[in-house]
């Protein structure tokens, strides 16, 4: 957990792990561009975000050593992500429910969706 060198100053990551992470990140970067060459419709957004999240996970786990860190670090990090998710999802929920009524014709797409059922 803390160290493999007995100094208590962090896990020393094997260079091949870092090289592998770099390779995976570059491949995923290519993928995230490549998927835009195909028309996935509304799913494109989710695909792009899934790839970005996978890349972010690789960076956090290996480049940032979270994989070897003490649990308190992961708790801190994940807490911030939970707060971000709450923040954005509630804001989206709010704007989609209220904006069309508050400002007529402000959000035509949403208004249409709401009106259409």
């Amino acid at each position: 957990m803390s160290s493999d060198h007995g100094t208590g100053t962090g896990h020393v990551v094997h260079p091949m792990v870092l090289v592998g992470t770099l390779g995976a990140l570059l491949v995923l970067t290519f993928f995230t561009v490549a998927v835009t060459w195909v028309d996935f419709g509304p799913a494109a957004f989710h695909i792009a975000m899934a790839i970005a999240t996978l890349k972010a996970a690789l960076v956090v786990l290996f480049f940032m050593h979270l994989y070897w860190d003490k649990p308190i670090i992961a708790i801190t990090f994940i807490t911030s992500l939970v707060l971000v998710a709450l923040f954005i999802s509630l804001s989206i929920n709010d704007t989609q429910n209220w904006m069309p009524e508050m400002i007529p014709d402000y959000a035509p797409r949403i208004e249409r969706t709401t009106a259409g059922g």
């Binding site: 208590g8 100053t9 835009t36 860190d69 911030s80 014709d105 402000y106």
Partner: protein, 340 residues
């Protein structure tokens, strides 16, 4: 300190052991990084809310971002994240020479990123692709060439006077009065959003919507969304027939400009996309600069021999900062450059 005969120089007097110091420093850094994530979350939220309300603006604006440069910058930043991780590793092992080398490579990556960013910003500055009232409506050929080919599958490209966004019901017509055309279905849907009738009236309603809101060449950001929307709603319901009437109802200065913008093909409020774009990439760029300063600082300390296999925490923590900068860009790149 008295009870620690082997209290090393690098160990703060308020810590018992190097491990305690390391854990505290690391936890503190991660707490800071959590606040950084929340800081950026504010902008991501603005992006998400605005995009969910106005997908057509993002669809239209994305063509002005250079995917190639964005992609290269992604690779540059990821690679510099790798060299930073290698620098941390070398520092942990006490290899100061290797640490310095990897830190220099990381700094070069950061400069490369900012250099490409500068090219992108300059291009946008030159073309008035800016925020608020600094935004200049794009010329016809700019807007249309990029989209005509990509999104021409739904027809309604009557002499380039309308922009088909490929999203049902979000077609924005920019026909000057009389130049309408296009499929009735397309415009009818658009018009129905304003509560107007379908058919020809609807066509004009849609054109009104676009032209009325979007006709001030010098920029038009001072009005709030509701200011802009209100007259359109009225027009859409009560006088959907002619754009001139709309122009008269629109604020001073907008009326005469309809013809100028008939070819524009742009949805309204595009300047807000660029406001979001510059805030997000600008804040990120500031973080890159801050990261570069921090890396330069640990590079100097490395060269001075401050670090050893026993103590290299500053390199580690600066590395964490650099990685979070990379992390933010990993999301910014697809959100701004790729998704349309």
């Amino acid at each position: 300190m008295s009870d620690h005969g082997d209290h090393p120089d690098y160990l703060g007097h308020h810590y018992d052991t190097p491990e305690q110091q390391f854990d505290s420093g690391k936890f503190g850094m991660w707490l800071f990084l959590a606040t950084e994530i929340l800081l950026f979350a504010g902008l991501f939220c603005a992006y998400a809310v605005y995009r969910s309300n106005h997908p057509e603006i993002f669809h239209y604006s994305e063509q002005f971002l250079d995917r190639k440069l964005g992609g290269i910058n992604t690779v540059v930043l990821i690679t510099s994240s790798f060299t930073m991780a290698m620098a941390v590793r070398a520092a942990q092992l006490g290899k100061n020479g290797a640490t310095a080398m990897f830190l220099v490579l990381t700094i070069l990556g950061g400069f490369g990123f900012m250099g490409i960013k500068k090219v992108e910003y300059e291009h946008k500055w030159k073309h008035g692709l800016l925020w608020g009232n600094k935004y200049q409506d794009q010329e016809h050929h700019d807007g249309h060439d990029g989209h005509g080919g990509e999104h021409g599958d739904e027809g309604a490209h009557d002499d380039g006077h309308s922009l088909n966004l490929g999203i049902p019901g979000v077609t924005m017509a920019h026909a000057a009065d009389g130049a309408g055309g296009g499929s009735a279905g397309d415009h009818g849907e658009d018009a129905s959003q304003a509560g107007a009738a379908a058919g020809d009236g609807g066509d004009h309603g849609a054109a009104t919507h676009a032209a009325g809101e979007h006709s001030d060449a010098g920029g038009h950001s001072d009005m709030s969304a509701s200011d802009k929307s209100a007259p359109i709603m009225v027009d859409g319901e009560e006088i959907p027939h002619t754009t001139h009437e709309t122009g008269a109802a629109a604020p001073e200065g907008l009326a005469g400009a309809d013809d100028k913008h008939a070819d524009d093909g742009a949805p309204a409020y595009v300047h807000i996309f660029f406001g979001i774009y510059f805030l997000m990439t600008g804040l990120h760029g500031l973080h890159v600069i801050a990261g570069l300063i921090a890396i330069a600082w640990v590079l100097v300390r490395t060269l001075k021999g401050h670090f050893s296999a026993e103590y290299s925490t500053p390199v580690d923590l600066v590395g964490l900062y650099w990685h979070i900068v990379d992390l933010v860009w990993i999301y910014l790149f697809p959100l701004l450059y790729l998704i349309s």
